[in-house]
Symmetry: C3
Subunit: 339 residues, 3 copies
């Protein structure tokens, strides 16, 4: 594809040779002479001159490059759209595969692809444009919006409510039973029926083998646009705001209340019944044991302000030195006393 055609499709100003032929997209270090690449973070601007890329997407503020350039206010977003020009995932086969089991009382919209062995339960409704890959199971009474994509082995349990453009990666489990048990006198546990519902708002994505639990009563809700990575646990009755990002292997205990635009890095844990404010950032493996104010940046277990945690970490490297110095001070002090 000629660069001028790409510029037109991506609605970008073009600087340099418009006739150059681009055959693919690549990261700045891997890109070859027929690849389009990008630099988003000004920190990496100096990598531009070492790149072998055929063309590059840059922001208007970036220093001009000798490489033919597409100008975009958001180079990363433009790159994301460029990827789509060169790659299309395999097209799901339209219609219902003969081995699928769709209940008679289920209602499907238009333009669907229901793969082999898919099971759609009684009274389910699904909007237009659904793609259910093989071996997906939808339990009875789920209500699902348009443009739903469910990858193989994902499961939607009974009474779940799902908005538009929601994506479930492989093995994602929506609305498994919450971990609720009432202790009896003899310390054995009585299972509490989990009658709550899970609600996924529009544009939510749930990663592979992640689990979102239903509660005893009430709802578990994931807000519009929130993205959940793989192997994440969302405890029963939790609520996550809009456009938040939960990285892999993060876990929320029950009744967590997570704000909007929150970023929890990998393997973060949040104890039960806490409020994590809007725009909070928690670095990887943070263990959050108390509620956290809007806009905080936190680290450590239990969590503290990230800056403090970093300073402590440096001091910890010399904890032995500190202990030795205290012992030496005692000796010196006693020696002084003697005199």
């Amino acid at each position: 594809m000629k660069l001028k055609d790409i510029a037109e499709k991506l609605d970008c100003e073009l600087r340099g040779d418009p006739e150059i032929e681009i055959l693919g997209v690549a990261g700045i270090q891997e890109a070859e002479s027929t690849d389009l690449t990008f630099v988003s973070n000004p920190k990496y601007a100096r990598k531009v001159k070492d790149s072998s890329a055929g063309a590059i997407i840059l922001s208007p503020e970036a220093p001009p490059s000798e490489i033919p350039t597409l100008i975009s206010p958001n180079p990363y977003l433009t790159f994301a759209r460029a990827v789509e020009l060169f790659y299309a995932p395999p097209i799901p086969i339209p219609g219902i595969h003969p081995t699928a089991s769709v209940a008679e009382t289920a209602v499907l919209g238009e333009d669907y692809s229901i793969g082999a062995n898919v099971v759609v339960g009684e009274h389910v409704s699904i909007g237009d444009g659904a793609v259910l890959y093989p071996n997906v199971t939808i339990y009875p009474h789920a209500k699902i919006g348009d443009d739903f994509i469910a990858h193989s082995n994902s499961v939607v349990r009974e009474h779940t409510s799902i908005g538009n453009r929601v994506i479930l990666q492989n093995g994602a489990v929506i609305a498994s039973d919450g971990f609720g048990f009432a202790p009896r006198e003899d310390r054995s546990y009585y299972k509490i029926v989990q009658s709550g519902v899970v609600i996924l708002e529009d544009d939510v994505e749930v990663g592979a083998n992640s689990c979102i639990d239903r509660a005893t009563v009430g709802e578990t809700r994931i807000g519009r646009g929130t993205k959940i990575d793989n192997l994440v646990q969302i405890g029963h009755g939790s609520k996550v705001g809009e456009d938040s990002v939960l990285a892999a292997q993060t876990g929320l205990a029950g009744s967590s209340d997570i704000g909007s635009r929150v970023m929890l890095a990998g393997q973060v844990g949040v104890a039960g019944h806490l409020r994590i404010g809007d725009d909070v950032i928690a670095t990887a493996q943070t263990g959050i044991a108390r509620s956290v104010k809007d806009g905080s940046k936190i680290s450590g277990t239990p969590e503290m302000e990230s800056g403090l945690w970093k300073k402590n970490y440096i001091l910890m490297h010399n904890l032995q030195g500190l202990v030795r110095e205290v012992k030496q001070l005692r000796k010196d002090l006693e020696a002084l006393k003697e005199k």
Copy 2:
């Protein structure tokens, strides 16, 4: 349902208006005038007067409330039973779905529901009342008791032994191969056949996408009544006692020996070949590197007594101050020496 009828079904003394109409159950903060709620923890007793609930379950010791009250020695357990009065999960369809594949040598008890695409292997036996949701797979030679519930995509591997009233949430894997490899001279690994069995005793529940590994030889055993949350890893050859609770994303390395009534909070890790005594409590993200005595409460990585860990945490907040003070002491001491 009238409150007097609920009182009768739950076998509770009723104080206040017996004719009040209850339409559902809810948490104390969400409950409305037609909801039944409960307070179990005396700490929350003061929330009673602010609640809009139509009726409440309280212990005999709780201060009397103006809200119509059901008296129970175990309000949480009574609430659990109340939930069942207002909610019933969708009833599984009896019989064997035509798309299920049940081996001719498999033996099923009475009153079963075998969903679409379920696969039951050769020589499997399953007791009465089994509910196998769509896409469940039971490998050959598994022996399973009565009232077994297996949710979609759960898997029971060959030769597993399962007691009565066991529940597998979606995607749970029982008896995957243990992580056992013998290093060769050249540092490559030779896979060791995992010939061991997994045993789940009565009343065990295994959470969504959790994994319980079989061992090279011998057994991996989960004791009666133990509850395992989502995304938990049980290493090969481990043994867990009775009525223990393992919260989400906890991991046991191989040959762990966990006692009874143990509570491991979320994201706890236990190193291999350790004994964790009865009634141990480990707080979230604890990393257990040594055997732990009965009744201990532990925190941190590696673990220490929880009280010590909390005090250290507070001191860590002022680690910088401590370092500064030690430097100042040195200065002051040297100044004194000069004199």
Copy 3:
């Protein structure tokens, strides 16, 4: 089986009674008079005399035992092969189960077992000796080598490339979408098509419910012989070398570069874009925030040299004592000044 026959099959020198009858294999503590056991670690040599085993595998350097002995330079490896003499997993049924859906354009080698409800997509190729257990899904365009074993509910996504003798445990997900989203002006996210591929080289094993993500562009690669345990997350664009071992619940963020013969213990986390050198060992729950040199042994979050971390841990037990001593030093110093 007579011990002399076992010695012959395992190619070991036999010391002691060759006629003894062996019926099984077991760990040294559980072994009974008809069991064969082994001692590999010289540390456990003293356990030999307390063992009730009928026969034992020992290294040539081990002190001679009264128990009939097989001599092997690698007792653990010999034991691994001995297990195979006494246990064979159920044999998968040859051919294609009538409920499986194999695309017409898919190419299978010889001697396969394709279980119930297996789905093999368009243009997939699989070599000889494949065993696909029930409910496995292979997306279109995957290329797979010989002797592939895929357990129930494992998934191989589109365009994945898999070598020979690869094993997927139950629920493993190969090539789920990487966690890649471009932020828009309004802080919402635009999903980036993940056009990259996942490559599993020869002799890789992936544990139950583990996830290996595809990247936006380029490849995610797991090197020859590397073994991945259960519930592990491999972020998009990561690369793992040969004969490395990733224990359960470990997570690699995107673009990780892990060397060969690396051992990451359970629940380790690796931040994005880091190089972890060859032969690195990270103990359980280590949080790796910087690149790590070849041969390092590390612990803690963020990581430090394991020896330093252990010393700090001991000092932490007396942090309160240190703080008290510093306060006392201040008092004593001030008292001295007064004089």
